[in-house]
C-alpha cells in the first residue's frame, strides 16, 4: 500500500508542476462531452475515449490536441483517432484521422501532445465527435513484485479520474473494466460506483483545463503477461506457390516475479491454485489454408501443441515446455506455410505481397519486432508501404541454390501490440524467367555428374603407360574382346546349324530337295566365312601371352565346334541323299539316329564350354 501511495504522490507532484506552468487554453475549443472506457482485462491497457469537440471561438479550427503525461507516453504503443460511429464500432479501421506528434508553444514540458486533424475545419458553434484509442503496453505494474507459486498475481494501474486535456471539459465520465471482480483496493472519489468487475467514475461536470485527480486500482489479474522481448518474423516468398513464415520468439513472463521454489507435483495436481499466475499456453490465430505448421526450439520439437481450423481461420494452441511463472523466460520458433495466391498479387507488372505485420499470437506485447521479407533471388525495385512508421533497411540472405543471395527487406518496430496486426505491402519486380533458374541449375548439376561419370569410365587414367601391370591389363582387355568374338562366331555357327536342321525338317514335310540344297549351300558359304574369321581370332589368341590360360579351352571349343559342324553336315548329306535316292526311310532313320545322338552330345559339350569360357 505504501508504495502505491508514494507513487500516486509522485504522480501528483508532476501534475501539480504542470498545472503551475499551464498557460491559458490555446483555442476556443471545448470538449462538451468526454466518455472514457479503460479496458484492463488483459495485460494490455486500452483506453478508448469518445470526445465531442465544440468550437466556441470565431475562428475555424481543424486540429484538436491530445495530451499525455510523459510517464505514460513511454508505454504508449498505439494512438489512433477515428470518427465516432456509435457504440460498439470504435475499432473500425476504415477511416482513421491523421494523428501527429506536435510541440505547441507555451505548454507544460512534462506533457506530450498529439494533434488530431479533423476531416474539415470546425466553424463557430460546430461540433464533431470522434474516438481516440490509446494502447499501452506495460502500464500495469505487478504489486507485490514477487510472489510464490501459490499466490495470485495482483497488479496496480493508475490514471486520472479527470480527462487530462488542454481544453475545458463540460461533462465527462470514466469506466474501468477489470478481468475479475476481485479488487484489492481502488481510489474512491465522489460519484464512484462499483458494478461487478467494473468501476465507474463520474459524471463530472465543468472541469477546467488540465484538471487532474489520480486514481489507483489494485486488482487481481492472472491473465498471461506474455511479453516478447524480441520477435523475428521471417516471411519468405517462393514463386513456386508458397509463402513460408518463420517466427522466432523470445518470451518472458512480464508479471510478478516468482520467488521460492517451484513444485511440479503441486502444479500438476492443482494447476489453478498452485500456479494461477503462470501462463500455460498461447493461442495464435493464423490465416486459413495454413499448412506445414511446426513448433520447436533450439533443442528440438515441442510436442505440446494443438491445431484446429475451419475455412475462415486456423487456430494454433501452443504450450511452452514448462509453465511460465513470473520472470521466467522461454524461446521457441513456429513456422508455417501459406498459399502464395492468397498473399501475392500482381499490379501493372509489379508484384506485391500483402500480409499482416504483427505476430498472430493473442494478446502478446512485443518489445522489439523485426519483420524480414525475403524476396526471391533476382527481384528488384523494392518498396514498402506500412500503415505506421517503422525502421527499414535491406539485407541479403543465402539460401538453397542461391548464387548472389536473396534480397531481404527488414522492418523493425518497438512496442508492438495486437492492434498493429495490420496489412502492409512490399512491392517488387521479378521476371518469370528467373523462376526457371533453380531447376536448370539442378538439371545442369546432375547432368555434369553423369558426364563426369561417363568421362571417368572412358578415360585412361593410369599414370605410367609403360608399366607391366598396365600393359597386361591392356592385353587382357584385348584377349577378352577376342574371346567375345570367338563366342560370337561359335554362336553364329550354332544358329547356322539350327537353320540346317530346320531345312531338313522342311524337307521331310514338303520333300523339296532343291530348297534344302540351296539352304545347304548358303550355310556352307557362311560357315566358311565364319571359320576364316575364327582362324584370324585364334591366331591372335595364340600369339598373345595373356591368353595362355584360357587358350586350351578356346581351342577345345573350336575343335568341338568343328566336329559338330562336320557331323551336322554329314547328317544333312545323309538325309538329302536318302531323299534323292528314295532309299528306304527306315534305313536312313537308323543311320540318322546314330548321327543325331552324337550331334546332341557334341552340342551339349559346346554349350557347356561356351558357358565355362563366359564365366572366366
Amino acid at each position: 500500500m505504501g508504495v502505491r501511495r508514494k507513487m500516486a504522490l509522485r504522480f501528483d507532484l508532476i501534475i501539480f508542476t504542470i498545472l503551475l506552468f499551464a498557460s491559458p487554453v490555446l483555442s476556443d475549443l471545448i470538449l462538451s462531452k468526454v466518455d472514457r472506457r479503460i479496458d484492463l482485462t488483459s495485460q494490455i491497457v486500452r483506453i478508448t475515449s469518445t470526445l465531442k469537440v465544440e468550437n466556441e471561438g470565431s475562428e475555424p479550427v481543424s486540429e484538436v490536441l491530445l495530451a499525455f503525461p510523459d510517464l505514460q507516453v513511454k508505454d504508449l504503443a498505439l494512438l489512433k483517432a477515428s470518427p465516432h460511429e456509435g457504440k460498439g464500432k470504435v475499432k473500425s479501421l476504415s477511416a482513421s484521422l491523421p494523428v501527429e506528434n506536435v510541440k505547441p508553444n507555451g505548454m507544460p514540458a512534462a506533457l506530450t501532445f498529439y494533434a488530431v486533424k479533423l476531416p474539415k475545419a470546425l466553424g463557430k458553434g460546430d461540433s464533431y465527435t470522434f474516438d481516440v484509442l490509446a494502447v499501452f503496453a506495460h502500464a500495469l505494474r505487478p504489486f507485490p513484485e514477487k510472489i510464490t507459486q501459490a499466490d495470485i498475481q495482483l497488479v496496480v494501474f493508475q490514471e486520472s479520474a479527470f480527462y487530462l486535456t488542454p481544453y475545458v471539459v463540460k461533462v465527462q465520465s470514466l469506466s474501468v473494466k477489470l478481468p475479475e471482480s476481485r479488487i484489492e483496493s481502488y481510489t474512491k472519489l465522489e460519484n464512484t460506483k462499483i458494478h461487478g468487475s467494473e468501476i465507474k467514475y463520474g459524471p463530472y461536470e465543468n472541469l477546467p483545463s488540465f484538471s487532474y485527480s489520480p486514481i489507483v486500482v489494485h486488482f487481481e489479474s492472472n491473465q498471461p503477461f506474455a511479453v516478447g522481448q524480441e520477435v523475428v518474423r521471417e516471411i519468405e516468398i517462393s514463386h513456386w506457390g508458397n509463402v513460408q513464415v518463420t517466427e522466432h520468439y523470445k518470451l518472458v513472463h512480464g508479471g510478478a516475479q516468482n520467488k521460492g521454489e517451484f513444485s511440479r507435483l503441486d502444479y500438476q495436481a492443482r494447476p489453478t491454485i498452485r500456479g494461477a499466475s503462470a501462463f500455460k499456453y498461447l493461442i495464435a490465430k493464423m490465416p486459413p489454408r495454413v499448412h506445414s505448421v511446426y513448433y520447436r526450439d533450439e533443442i528440438g520439437n515441442i510436442s505440446t501443441s494443438n491445431l484446429w481450423g475451419d475455412s475462415k481461420k486456423t487456430e494454433l494452441l501452443i504450450e511452452p515446455r514448462y509453465p511460465l511463472f513470473g520472470g521466467w523466460r522461454t524461446a521457441f520458433t513456429i513456422g508455417y506455410g501459406l498459399p502464395l495466391k492468397d498473399f501475392l498479387f500482381e499490379l501493372e507488372g509489379n508484384r506485391f505481397l500483402n500480409i499482416t505485420f504483427g505476430s498472430p499470437m493473442n494478446e502478446l506485447v512485443i518489445d522489439n519486432l523485426i519483420v524480414k521479407v525475403v524476396l526471391p533471388e533476382g527481384s528488384g525495385d523494392i518498396s514498402v508501404s506500412a500503415p505506421f512508421p517503422v525502421n527499414q533497411w535491406e539485407e541479403t540472405k543465402l539460401s538453397h541454390l542461391d548464387l548472389t543471395g536473396r534480397p531481404v527487406v527488414v522492418l523493425q518496430k518497438t512496442n508492438v501490440v495486437p492492434e498493429h496486426n495490420q496489412f502492409f505491402q512490399v512491392y517488387y519486380k521479378f521476371s518469370k524467367l528467373s523462376m526457371l533458374r533453380e531447376p536448370f541449375m539442378l538439371i545442369f548439376g546432375f547432368f555434369s555428374l553423369f558426364v563426369a561419370g561417363i568421362v571417368y569410365m572412358h578415360v585412361d587414367m593410369s599414370i605410367s603407360k609403360s608399366s607391366a601391370a598396365y600393359l597386361a591389363r591392356l592385353q587382357w582387355d584385348e584377349v577378352q574382346a577376342a574371346i567375345q568374338q570367338v563366342e560370337n562366331v561359335i554362336n553364329r555357327c550354332l544358329t547356322t546349324h539350327d537353320k540346317l536342321e530346320a531345312s531338313l525338317r522342311d524337307l521331310s514335310r514338303t520333300g523339296d530337295v532343291q530348297a534344302c540344297k540351296a539352304a545347304r549351300k548358303a550355310a556352307d558359304g557362311l560357315l566358311k566365312e565364319l571359320s576364316k574369321e575364327l582362324k584370324l581370332v585364334l591366331s591372335f589368341l595364340q600369339s598373345s601371352s595373356a591368353a595362355s590360360q584360357i587358350l586350351p579351352k578356346v581351342e577345345e571349343l573350336v575343335a568341338k565346334e568343328k566336329d559338330l559342324q562336320e557331323k551336322v553336315m554329314a547328317k544333312h548329306s545323309t538325309v538329302v541323299d536318302c531323299y534323292e535316292k528314295k532309299t528306304g526311310i527306315r534305313d536312313s532313320e537308323n543311320r540318322v539316329a546314330a548321327q543325331q545322338q552324337k550331334i546332341t552330345a557334341l552340342r551339349q559339350e559346346v554349350e557347356n564350354l561356351l558357358e565355362l569360357i563366359d564365366e572366366i
Binding site: 533443442i299 520439437n301 515441442i302 515446455r321 521466467w328 522461454t330 538453397h400 541454390l401 554362336n491 552330345a601
Partner: protein, 677 residues
C-alpha cells in the same frame, strides 16, 4: 553322400536373408539363360541395382526414429559430439583443436581437442561444408542426425566388396543386405545416434577390406589405402585397438601356418608403419603406438616379419642347410631375447604403459567388477546375455557356424582373416554388450558366405537337372555319357524336390529375418531415450518430454555461469541442451571427481551442502521417475553412486544403504539411505 550333407547344411544355414536377395539370386540365374548374349551386362546391371537398393534400404530403415519422433540427437554421448561439431563448424578447425572447455568438469575443465576422437566431428563438418558449398542450406543438426545412416549405407557397399574379396560377388551382395538391416548394427546407427561407432564400423570394415585386398594382391597401393583407412578409424573411435591387435594376430597365424609370402610382407609393413605414423597425428592417441602395452603386439609382429624376411634371404644365400639350421637357432634365440629384454626394460622403466582397465576387463570379464566400479556401472559394459545375441543377430547366429564351415572348406588368406575376425569379435561380444557391434560385420559376412554358397549349390543343382531333362526329352539317351546321365536321372526327382524345398525354406527364413530386423528397428532401437513415448489408455501416443523441459528451463532461466551438479550420465546433455557448466559428465576421465559427486549425493544433507559449496554448485539436477514409472532414474542408479563414491572415500560404505542385503527405497529402507541427499 556329399549331396546329402550339403543339403543338410543348407537346411540349417539357409536361414535368412532379405527376400530381395534371394529373389535376385534366382532372378540372375534365370536371366542368365534367357539373355545369353548379354549375360555380363545383365549381371552387372542386376548387381548394381541390387546394391543400390540395399544402399537405400540401409538408409531408410534407420529413419524410423525420425518418423516416430523427430530429427533429433539421441542418448548421451551424441550430445557431446553434436556440441563439439557445432563448435567446429562455427569456429573452424584450429579453434576446435585448441578448445579448452570450461563448461564441463568444473572446476577442472577439459581440453577437448586433446581428449576426443575428432573423426566423427570432422566428417560431419565436412559433409556440412560440402552441402553448403553446393548451395544446400542445411542445418548442422540435420547433418549430424543423418551421418550415421549415411555411413551405414556406405558400410553396405564396403561389405559387398569385402564379401566379393573373400568369397564371390553373390556372397558380397548377401553380406551387404545382411549388414544393411542387422539389428546389432542398427542399434548404433539409427538416425540421430550421432556417435563415434556410426562412422567407426564403416572405417573398421574398410580397413579390414583394404588390408585383405592388399594381402591378396601384394600391392603397395592397397596397403597404403588400408593405412589411410586405419588412420580414419583411429581418428574416429577407440576401438581401433581391435584392428591393431587383430591384424598382427592374423599375420602371426599366417606365419605359423606357413602362408608367409612377399604379399603379406608388403601389406603388413606398409600398413603398420604408415598407419602408426598417421595415427600419431591424432592428439588423443599420440605416442601410444610405441608406448602402450596394447600396441606392443603389432610392433612385435613387425619385428618378427623382418626377422622372417632376413632368414628367408639368408636361406637363399646359404645353400648349405646345416649352416642355415645353426644360423636359424642363433638368430631366433637372440631375436627373442632382445625383444623380451626391450619389453621388460620398457615396462620396468615406465616407458611402456601397462594395459588399461578396459583392456583388462575385455580379457578377463570379472576384472572390472572387482576393481573399477565406474566401468562396471555402465550398462553397455555388462556381459552379454544370450537373448540379446538372439535379438541382435537372429538367424545369423545359426548361419555363423555354417559360414565358418564353408570358410574352412575353402581356406585362403582371405577366409582365414574373416574366420579370425569372426571368432575374436564373437568372444568380445560375449564379454561386453556394446561390442556386439564390432562382431556384427564379421557375423554378417560369414553368414552371407553360408547363404550364398548354399543357394548357389541348390540353384546349380536345379539348373543342371533342367538341362539334362531337356536333353533327355529331345531324343533318346545313351551315347558315351549315357551311364552317368542315367545315374543323374535316377536321383533327379528326389534331388529336385529337395532343392526346391530347401530354397523355399531358405526364402522363408530370410524373409523372417527381414521382418524381425524391421520390427526390432522400429520398436527397440529407434527411441531417442531422451523423449519417452507410451501408449495412452485410448491407444493414442503420450510423449514424456520432461528431460528437455528441464534442460530448457536451465538454459533459459538460470544465470549463464551457473554450475549444475548431477550424476555423470546427464553431463553431456546439460552442457549441450542446457548450455550450463557441469561438474562431471560422461567422459569419465577423473574418477575422484565423480566419486566426490557420488559422495555428495549419498551424504546427509548438511554434509552434502558443504561438499557442494566447495564445488561452487548452484543447481542440482536429480531425476526421479516415480510419478511416471520411468525406471532409469537416479534412485535406480543410486547404488552406483554409493559404490563409486565408496571406492575413493571409504567414509561411504555400501552396507549402510542396504537392508539385509536388499536395496529398498520405500519406508523400510536403511536410515542412511532415507536421510541422504
Amino acid at each position: 553322400m556329399v549331396g546329402k550333407t550339403e543339403s543338410q547344411n543348407g537346411a540349417v544355414k539357409a536361414t535368412a536373408a532379405p527376400a530381395m536377395n534371394l529373389e535376385s539370386d534366382l532372378f540372375s540365374n534365370f536371366s542368365f539363360k534367357s539373355f545369353k548374349l548379354k549375360t555380363k551386362q545383365q549381371e552387372l546391371l542386376l548387381r548394381v541395382s541390387i546394391l543400390g537398393l540395399v544402399y537405400i534400404l540401409a538408409f531408410i530403415t534407420r529413419l524410423f526414429s525420425v518418423l516416430r519422433y523427430e530429427s533429433m540427437i539421441h542418448e548421451f554421448d551424441p550430445y557431446f559430439n553434436y556440441r563439439t561439431t557445432l563448435f567446429l563448424t562455427e569456429k573452424g578447425f584450429y579453434e576446435f583443436w585448441n578448445w579448452f572447455d570450461s563448461e564441463s568438469w568444473y572446476p577442472l575443465g577439459r581440453i577437448i581437442g586433446g581428449t576426443l576422437y575428432p573423426g566423427l566431428m570432422v566428417t560431419a563438418a565436412f559433409i556440412y561444408w560440402t552441402l553448403r558449398f553446393l548451395r544446400f542450406a542445411v542445418h548442422i543438426r540435420e547433418v549430424c542426425v543423418l551421418t550415421a545412416p549415411f555411413f551405414a549405407s556406405n558400410t553396405t557397399v564396403v561389405a559387398y566388396f569385402f564379401g566379393k574379396e573373400i568369397w564371390d560377388s553373390g556372397a558380397g551382395l548377401v553380406a551387404a543386405a545382411f549388414i544393411a538391416i542387422c539389428p546389432g548394427y542398427i542399434s548404433r546407427s539409427v538416425a540421430g545416434s550421432y556417435d563415434n561407432e556410426g562412422v567407426a564400423i564403416f572405417a573398421l570394415l574398410l580397413t579390414f577390406y583394404l588390408f585383405v585386398k592388399a594381402v591378396n594382391t601384394g600391392s603397395l597401393a592397397w596397403a597404403l589405402a588400408s593405412a589411410f583407412g586405419y588412420f580414419y578409424m583411429v581418428s574416429a573411435w577407440g576401438g581401433y585397438v581391435f584392428i591393431i591387435n587383430l591384424i598382427p594376430l592374423y599375420v602371426l597365424v599366417l606365419l605359423i601356418t606357413g602362408r608367409y609370402s612377399m604379399r603379406l610382407y608388403v601389406a603388413y609393413n606398409c600398413m603398420y608403419v604408415l598407419g602408426m605414423l598417421l595415427a600419431m597425428q591424432i592428439r588423443f592417441v599420440g605416442f601410444q603406438h610405441v608406448q602402450s602395452g596394447e600396441h606392443m603386439a603389432a610392433m612385435g609382429v613387425f619385428f618378427l616379419m623382418q626377422v622372417f624376411y632376413f632368414l628367408d634371404w639368408v636361406k637363399y644365400m646359404l645353400s648349405d642347410t646345416k649352416l642355415f639350421q645353426a644360423f636359424l637357432r642363433i638368430t631366433v634365440t637372440s631375436a627373442i631375447a632382445v625383444g623380451a629384454l626391450a619389453l621388460g626394460v620398457g615396462t620396468a622403466s615406465g616407458y611402456i604403459s601397462p594395459w588399461t582397465g578396459r583392456f583388462y576387463s575385455l580379457l578377463d570379464p570379472t576384472y572390472a567388477k572387482d576393481n573399477i566400479p565406474i566401468i562396471a556401472s555402465v550398462s553397455e559394459h555388462q556381459p552379454t546375455a544370450w537373448s540379446s545375441f538372439m535379438f541382435d543377430f537372429h538367424i545369423l547366429l545359426f548361419l555363423f557356424p555354417a559360414g565358418l564351415y564353408f570358410c574352412f572348406k575353402k581356406l585362403s588368406d582371405a577366409t582365414i582373416f574373416i574366420v579370425m575376425y569372426g571368432l575374436t569379435s564373437m568372444y568380445f561380444a560375449g564379454v561386453m554388450v556394446r561390442l556386439i557391434l564390432v562382431a556384427t560385420p564379421a557375423v554378417c559376412l560369414i553368414s552371407a558366405i553360408a547363404v550364398s554358397a548354399t543357394i548357389k549349390n541348390l540353384t546349380s543343382l536345379l539348373r543342371t537337372k533342367s538341362k539334362t531333362a531337356v536333353a533327355g526329352s529331345s531324343k533318346g539317351t545313351g551315347g558315351s555319357k549315357a551311364s552317368s546321365k542315367a545315374s543323374f536321372d535316377q536321383s533327379q526327382p528326389f534331388q529336385k524336390n529337395g532343392a526346391i524345398a530347401l530354397l523355399l525354406g531358405a526364402f522363408y527364413l530370410l524373409s523372417k529375418y527381414a521382418t524381425h530386423c524391421t520390427w526390432v528397428t522400429s520398436e527397440a532401437y529407434s527411441s531417442p531415450s531422451i523423449v519417452l513415448a507410451a501408449r495412452g489408455a485410448h491407444g493414442n501416443r503420450v510423449i514424456f518430454d520432461d528431460y528437455r523441459e528441464a534442460y530448457f528451463w536451465l538454459r533459459q532461466n538460470t544465470p549463464p555461469d551457473a554450475k549444475v551438479m548431477s550424476w555423470w550420465d546427464y553431463g553431456y546433455q546439460i552442457t549441450a541442451m542446457g548450455n550450463r557448466t557441469v561438474i562431471v559428465d560422461n567422459n569419465t576421465w577423473n574418477n575422484t571427481h565423480i566419486a566426490t559427486v557420488g559422495r555428495a549425493m549419498s551424504s546427509y544433507e548438511d554434509e552434502a551442502y558443504e561438499i557442494m559449496r566447495s564445488l561452487d554448485v548452484d543447481y542440482v539436477l536429480v531425476v526421479f521417475g516415480g510419478v511416471t514409472g520411468y525406471s532409469s532414474d537416479d534412485i535406480n542408479k543410486f547404488l552406483w553412486m554409493v559404490r563409486i563414491g565408496g571406492g575413493v572415500f571409504p567414509v561411504i560404505k555400501e552396507p549402510d544403504y542396504l537392508v539385509n542385503g536388499d536395496y529398498r527405497v520405500d519406508k523400510g529402507a536403511a536410515p542412511k539411505m532415507l536421510n541422504c541427499l
